[in-house]
């Protein structure tokens, strides 16, 4: 532990892959639904379901910056962080800042709602329906579809907020955040802390979480 590398891992490969796949999938899901390509909507939707599930598991068992428990503890320093923001000197946070934690939780909650309601949704003709809609009546399935539709607006609003926040960090606070979500790494000297938590992802845990998610998707889709 005497020689630390100049660039250190902030976001592990799983977090980055899931993040960018979600970025690609949300517009595609919107577009396929609007165009009525429901076969593709359901395929991609199930993929999204798998990603969300994996991310939840990774939030329990993943690397330090991916886990929910340390994120929750960060919320405690929200007001002091907001103070720093007001002075325009937030500094780099290793992992999610207290404000970003709120964004992560909000986005994940809305995503969970979006994929679960999709599974039970029935369209007005009773022709198209999610793979679990067989368990509910026509009316209930229609109600799921209504929530599915409304909740998408919430998701879109949160995404806009997310992008606006990143732009504010970039142009007002001069903090570049996107690079680290691509390469996973930042300069060690960006962080003022003398000791940083061990952020190594555990390979076998990752494989088990991924297998579990895929298995869940397969069970649901059959």
């Amino acid at each position: 532990m005497t020689t630390e590398p100049a660039r250190i891992l902030v976001w592990d490969g799983a977090v980055r892959l899931v993040h960018w796949l979600m970025v690609a999938l949300v517009p595609l899901l919107w577009w396929t639904a609007e165009q009525g390509y429901m076969d593709w909507h359901k395929r991609l939707g199930l993929t999204m379901f798998g990603l969300v599930l994996f991310r939840l598991l990774w939030g329990l068992f993943g690397s330090w910056t991916a886990r929910f428990a340390p994120m929750m503890r960060r919320i405690g320093s929200l007001s002091s962080y907001l103070g720093k923001l007001r002075r325009r000197e937030p500094g780099a946070t290793f992992g999610h800042s207290p404000l970003a934690v709120l964004s992560v939780f909000a986005l994940l909650i809305v995503l969970v709602a979006q994929v679960t309601t999709g599974l039970f949704s029935v369209d007005v003709d009773g022709l198209e329906s999610g793979p679990l809609a067989i368990m509910v009546s026509f009316e209930t399935g229609r109600q799921f579809a209504e929530v599915h539709e409304f909740n998408f607006n919430l998701l879109a609003a949160l995404i806009v907020l997310h992008i606006v926040a990143i732009a504010i960090y970039r142009f007002v606070l001069k903090e570049k955040l996107v690079g680290a979500m691509v390469t996973g790494r930042r300069s060690r000297s960006d962080f003022s802390e003398a000791h940083l938590p061990d952020n190594r992802p555990r390979k076998y845990t990752m494989m088990i979480a991924a297998l579990l998610s895929v298995a869940c998707v397969i069970v649901i889709s059959n």
Partner: protein, 171 residues
């Protein structure tokens, strides 16, 4: 000083406001006299609209139960047959469910678009196309071959969609 915080909160509030504005339904005026107007067939406008929605809902339900069975590992043929028989019955006389005056201008909540009454003969063609497809589905269903049923089901569903895309308000 407070600028940064408000930069985040303002767009959030703006998007929420926009959302709630989208959710408002501005044109419903339930007291409208038009809803109580009696049609040549003896029903009021409101009764006519509600009656057709009732039929359509039953058709939708029947469609879902066929779709559920077709998805199942071992489809329950009896349920498919019952549902397939129901559709043509419920859709009988559908061309008469949309008399002049039963659009949204009546103040009754309806997804029927005004263009129906501009293209009434095309609309009626679409009613007929669906009724024929539904009768075909019923015949095929009673024969009992799941693969042919699935094809006929998709074909009938296409007729519902043909009409909804053009004449029903997108919800």
């Amino acid at each position: 000083m407070r600028r940064c915080k408000s930069k985040i909160i303002v767009p959030l509030l703006a998007s929420l406001a926009l959302l709630s504005a989208c959710g408002q339904n501005t044109e419903t005026d339930m007291d409208s006299q038009l809803a109580a107007v009696e049609l040549p067939n003896g029903m009021t406008v409101k009764e006519q609209i509600e009656a057709r929605q009732g039929h359509l809902k039953k058709i939708g339900k029947a469609f879902k139960s066929i779709s559920d069975q077709l998805k199942a590992d071992s489809p329950d043929l009896a349920r498919i047959q019952a549902a397939a028989a129901l559709v043509p019955k419920e859709a009988e006389g559908m061309a008469d469910w949309f008399p002049e005056g039963t659009g949204s201008e009546s103040g009754v909540k309806t997804d029927a678009l005004p263009v129906i009454w501009k293209n009434k003969s095309d609309f009626n063609d679409k009613v007929l196309a669906m009724q024929e497809a539904a009768a075909g589905l019923d015949t095929v269903a009673q024969s009992g071959d799941v693969a042919t049923i699935a094809t006929a089901f998709q074909a009938t569903g296409g007729k519902c969609k043909d009409c909804h895309d053009k004449y029903r308000e997108d919800d």
